[in-house]
Structures are given as structure tokens and as C-alpha cells.
Symmetry: C2
Subunit: 384 residues, 2 copies
């Protein structure tokens, strides 16, 4: 218990003298000193020189203690059907290594896992610590995830992904706990932690690219829903006659607004030059009238689905992430205009600040939460 309190105080302060720890914890000086000795022996705390901002003193420098954020690392993995993105962070959440790999071929489950493991090796090789220093792994994947089992239970938009036991499979490669979560759920955690989420307690993140997903934060907490399916906006049915899952695996709404639709719509309006949807989105950001029209039509369609989500949840903020963020304010303005015609109360709208990093950073956050829980538990649980 004392070690946990002293460790918390050191982490809160950054660096601290024993005198400051006595004040912060309310413990006696001998108790603090004993706790510091234990924490140093266990490798969580080190002695260091006082920071430069201290006034110069006579005699030997004071003993300053620092949390060893690099004593362990966590790994966050964003596994999508077309990319694998790994990020390694220390216990302060600072990313020290990242590797992104595009997966272009049609991936079998076995082929995909080979890619994941190769990317993991690559990103961990860049970190100057043994694999035993890896404290936890977080992994984000499309689909509805049973996070207790670490398995994808339903992923209509990614053929072959359903009933993928990602957690069990990865646990064979590492010696630490592996946690699996829906990718957009992780992205919203990252936005709240370090992105556009700020202090909004009720927010919706719409991740809008080839696919469209959403994640919901209620009272500052991730809202998974009763079956882990909260926020599946890509599968919302807007029409009187339900459309169902499309031939390409996309849900009705994502099929109607995703980047594939945007490129097709640009072509139908006579755009023969843009090589891909990214070019259309960038042209919209630059003010090209035809690209603007495509983006506006897409925003009108998205707002039709999003308005119901906004009516159900009444968030203070909606963050737009994913590929469409390339269009910048054209996306925000379009959504705002069409939402205003459809919702009783229109929330604040912002673009994601984390872009492509959001899912991997959320996975890092998930792994960190687990690592910290177990790290502190060592000192909180009474020894038998």
C-alpha cells in the first residue's frame, strides 16, 4: 500500500525529493524511504540529478527520484483488412517506435497473422529492451468484438473476419496479456486521451473512409452497448425497403457514403483525372466545385444517418476521423449544414487530430491501462 502511494506521488510529480513525497503522501519519512528502496530494487524508480530548473545549491546535489517510464513497454496494434500499424510506447504513453505495413493481397486468416507477427517483430526490434519488458498488448480490429474472449464475433464488412480468435492467436507470440477491442472504440479513447475529445463527456466519433463506423463515449466512459455493437452506423438502414449488407461486404450506409461511392460519383460528374477518392477529397479542400459537390452530397447522406445517432445520444461533440478528413472544413461544413436541417440540437463538430494514428494510440492506451493496473496491484495486494 505504501509503495503504491509513493509510486503514484512520484509519477504525479515527474521527479520528487523524499521530503516532497512525505508531504504528498502523509506517510512518515522512514516509511517513504523504505518504499523508495523497494521501488528502486524492483526497477520502477531511479535516482537522478535534480532538474536544471532547480536553484544551484551548496554541497552535494539533493536526491531526486524519477519514475522509470522505460522500465516496461506496451504495444498497440491496429489490424485492418488493408493495413497493420504497430506502435510501442513506454509507461508514460510516449510512442518510441512505430511501423505501418500495407496489406494489399486478399488476406486469409493465416496470411494476415503472418503479417501481424512480422510487423510486431519489426516494431519491437527497434526498441532497445528485451521482449520480457513488454507489459501488455492492445489490438484494434473492425467488427463486433467480445473483449473478454478477445475474439471478433461479427465483422460483416470484412469477409472472413468473423469469429477470428485474434486474442488467443496472438497470445502464442507474446508472454504478456493481449486485449482486443473494436477499432473505432479504440480511436474514440485516443481522441479523448490525446486528441480532439478534450473534456467532452458525451461524444461520438465517426470514422469515415472506405468503411464508416462510429464509437460512443457516455459520461466519459466508452459505451460498448449490451452486445458490443453500439455505434455501428455503417449498417444503418435509411430507406423504406432495407438494403442489407452489400455484395462488397459494406453495410447500407457505408456503401452509400464511403470513399468508393465518392470516387464513382466524381466519375459520373465527369471527373476523369482523380486517381482515387483521396484526390477528390483533396480537391474539395482546395475549393474545386465538382469535388465540393461530391463531398456535399456525401455529407447529406451521412447526416441522414448521423442525425438519428445525435437524437439518440445528444452528444456535445461529434469528431470526424478517417480518410474524409482530407477534405478539411468542407466535410465539417457539409455535415453541419445537413445536420442542422435534421436534428433538434446540433452538437459541436471537429476533425480528428490523430488521423491514421488514432486506433494504434487507442490500443496503446488500452494496453497501458492493463499494465498500470497489474503494476500497482503488485504493491496493493497484501503478500501472503
Amino acid at each position: 500500500m505504501n509503495c503504491a502511494a509513493v509510486l503514484d506521488a512520484i509519477r504525479d510529480a515527474g521527479t520528487a525529493r523524499v521530503t516532497e513525497l512525505v508531504r504528498a503522501t502523509g506517510l512518515s519519512r522512514p516509511t517513504v524511504s523504505a518504499a523508495v528502496s523497494t521501488l528502486m530494487a524492483d526497477g520502477w524508480v531511479e535516482e537522478t540529478e535534480a532538474p536544471d530548473i532547480d536553484l544551484p545549491r551548496m554541497g552535494r546535489p539533493a536526491r531526486v527520484l524519477r519514475f522509470r517510464a522505460d522500465a516496461r513497454y506496451v504495444l498497440g496494434i491496429d489490424v485492418g483488412p488493408h493495413k497493420i500499424y504497430c506502435a510501442v510506447a513506454d509507461l508514460s504513453g510516449t510512442v518510441v517506435s512505430r511501423v505501418r505495413r500495407d496489406v494489399t493481397e486478399a488476406s486469409t486468416q493465416a496470411g494476415l497473422l503472418d503479417h501481424v507477427q512480422a510487423t510486431m517483430r519489426e516494431v519491437l526490434d527497434a526498441v532497445p529492451v528485451p521482449s520480457s519488458a513488454l507489459a501488455a498488448v492492445g489490438l484494434g480490429t473492425p467488427g463486433i468484438v467480445d473483449e473478454r474472449r478477445g475474439a471478433v464475433v461479427q465483422a460483416p464488412s470484412v469477409p472472413g473476419w468473423s469469429s477470428l480468435e485474434l486474442g488467443s492467436l496472438l497470445r502464442r507470440s507474446v508472454e504478456c496479456p493481449v486485449h482486443v477491442e473494436n477499432d473505432v472504440n479504440l480511436a474514440v479513447m485516443a481522441e479523448r486521451w490525446n486528441g480532439a475529445g478534450g473534456d467532452a463527456d458525451n461524444l461520438i466519433l465517426v470514422q469515415w473512409g472506405a468503411r464508416v463506423g462510429a464509437a460512443v463515449l457516455v459520461q466519459g466512459q466508452l459505451h460498448r452497448g449490451a452486445h458490443g455493437a453500439a455505434g455501428e452506423i455503417g449498417f444503418v438502414e435509411l430507406e423504406e425497403e432495407p438494403q442489407g449488407v452489400q455484395a462488397d461486404g459494406l453495410g447500407p450506409l457505408e456503401s452509400a457514403v464511403g470513399t468508393a461511392w465518392m470516387l464513382r460519383r466524381a466519375r459520373s460528374l465527369g471527373d476523369d483525372e482523380s486517381p482515387d477518392a483521396a484526390a477528390v477529397l483533396t480537391a474539395a479542400a482546395d475549393g474545386d466545385p465538382r469535388a465540393r459537390r461530391v463531398v456535399d452530397e456525401a455529407c447529406a447522406r451521412l447526416a441522414r444517418g448521423l442525425a438519428s445517432f445525435v437524437s439518440a445520444i445528444d452528444p456535445e461533440l461529434v469528431i470526424i476521423g478517417g480518410g474524409v478528413a482530407l477534405a478539411g472544413d468542407a466535410i465539417l461544413d457539409g455535415i453541419r449544414r445537413h445536420l442542422t436541417r435534421r436534428a433538434l440540437v446540433v452538437p459541436r463538430l471537429e476533425l480528428s487530430r490523430l488521423g491514421d494514428d488514432a486506433v494504434a494510440l487507442g490500443a496503446v492506451r488500452l494496453a497501458l491501462a492493463d499494465a498500470e493496473r497489474r503494476l500497482l496491484d503488485v504493491y496493493t495486494v497484501p503478500t501472503p
Copy 2:
């Protein structure tokens, strides 16, 4: 502090002997006895005979203490554009008096308040205690409510209701706190407390009659949303071209599925006999094919809006309340069938068990929560 602990123990037990209170609280016998004396002097606890289930004993009967649930009362009020329903309950939540008054004429704000005050007087006159025993008032009203101010800030479906300062106006008639909340929010609290909600932590209540509203419970807590507008399903826009608020003040969805639409649709199918929508709903419950068709079409329309709410929130349970419950399983079956075609995961569906009482009971619950908080505060806050 000791009084609060002893009072809690007596309320938990129903009736209790001092010996049992010593065991339940961990306090000493003299401390418990002193607390009991204080609570009896303040009127919260009374001595009573041991209940019949006790074995007969020799000598004088043991001293059994009972919480005086009738020491104070709370008042719950359901104020709608067409009715006022008042319920008085004691501190155990048992309703001891109720009065319902239909309001048929077009109500001005002043006329409405006259009706509310007359109904309050009538319901309180039936209770054999002075008005000073009224501990708190809860009031439910349609529209978006600023519950801190006790005011309706937006009520598109009830003309003249917006910016109604119900809380301030009522506080002139009573000497206790008045709390105002959206009516459907109160109904969902009542369902969770004493109705079909049971132990569902994530649930949506759809109140479906002339108007359609919804309320959302997330992790067992009422979810108001950032602007108090969560769950406004009646104003969901389904069509590509937004419909806006209709001439009769109804939102687009409630206009397309409400009881007024049902009666019109029955007429258009040749039903010249049903005097009102209630008759159509009852006929559907009895298996009349034409009435069944009306109900099924209404369910298809409602499911179109509800499916988005279900996708956003992923509840384990959806409760259907309001006038349409007259159609019984025909309503549940219709919604389930159409929802299955539109939602990735279909929640459990149940009819409200509280019917017309739901809002007033939720208002009682709101008032009780406040009364209990202040009642216990007396014993928790240190005296100066």
C-alpha cells in the same frame, strides 16, 4: 453519522430490534440506543409490536423499531397537454392517493397551471397529513427540460409549452423543493424501478401514443445527453428531404406513426366504425386483419427510426409504453419483425408494465430521491 447508519439499518430490515441494529451497524448498544432515541424524537422511527411471524415469547414483548414511512409524503405530477395525473406516495414509495384530470380545452399557460394546482389540492386533500408533511415534488412534462432551472426549454410538439418555467411557478404553491424532468425520462426511471426494466443496464423506453418519445438508460443511469435532448425519437427525420415539425406541432416520425395517423390509416382502409385509435389498437389485439395491417404498417415505420437508435446504443431491452400497448403482442411482434430486417443486433422487446402510471411514478421516484437525500443529510452533516 450514527443516526444515519441506524436509520439505514431499520429501513433495510423493515422492523428491527436494538440487538439486530447493533449487529447490522457494528456500533455499540449505548450508541444505537441513543441514535434510536434521537430518531424517535425527530419522528422517523416508532416503537411497535413484534410482527406476527415472531415466535410467542414469555414476558413483555420485545422492543421492535419501525421506520415511519408515513412521516413525510412526496408528490409526483405528470403534466401533459391533455391530462394531469398526480400521485402521492409515502417514503417507502407506496402510492396512497392518485387523481387524474383530463384537460380538453386548448390550454393557456395560466389555465394549465390552474388545473395543475387544483389537481394537487385534490390529491393532497385525500391524504390525512398537513401540507407541511410534503417533502418534495417531482414533475414530468413533455419537451427538453433544463432540470437545474426546472424549466421547459424546448417543446416543439406542445405549442406554447416552450420556455415554461414550471418549477418556479409551482414553488409558489408548495413549501418544499420542486424537481422538473422530461416525462419519458421519468417513465424509464419508473420502469427500471418497478416495471419491465428489471436489471437491464442499457435500455430504451419508447413512449408511443399521440406523440412518440424515447428515453435512454446507459449503465443503469438515466442518459439526458449534453443538452437534455437524448432520445427525442419523435423528431427523427427519415426521408431524404427533411419534413420538419408538422402543422399540428408533431415531429416527422411521430406524425408518421402516432395514433392520429393510425386512425386516418384505418379510415383509408375502410374502417368507418372505430371511434378512435384505441378502438383500432384493441381490434388489432383481438386479431382483426384490417387493424393488424394498420399496426404492422405503423411498426414498420417506427422500426425505421428505432433501428438507428438501437444501432447507436445497442440496448439489451426496448420497452414499448404509451397508448399503443393496447395492441399487446401485435405491437411487439410487428416491431421485432421489422427491426430484425434493419438492425445488426435485435434487443429484447417488452411492453411497459406501468402504462398510464409510468410518468407519475417516475416523478414520485424523483421526489423520493431528493427527500431521502435531504432526510439523511440532517444526520450526516456535522452540527456547528
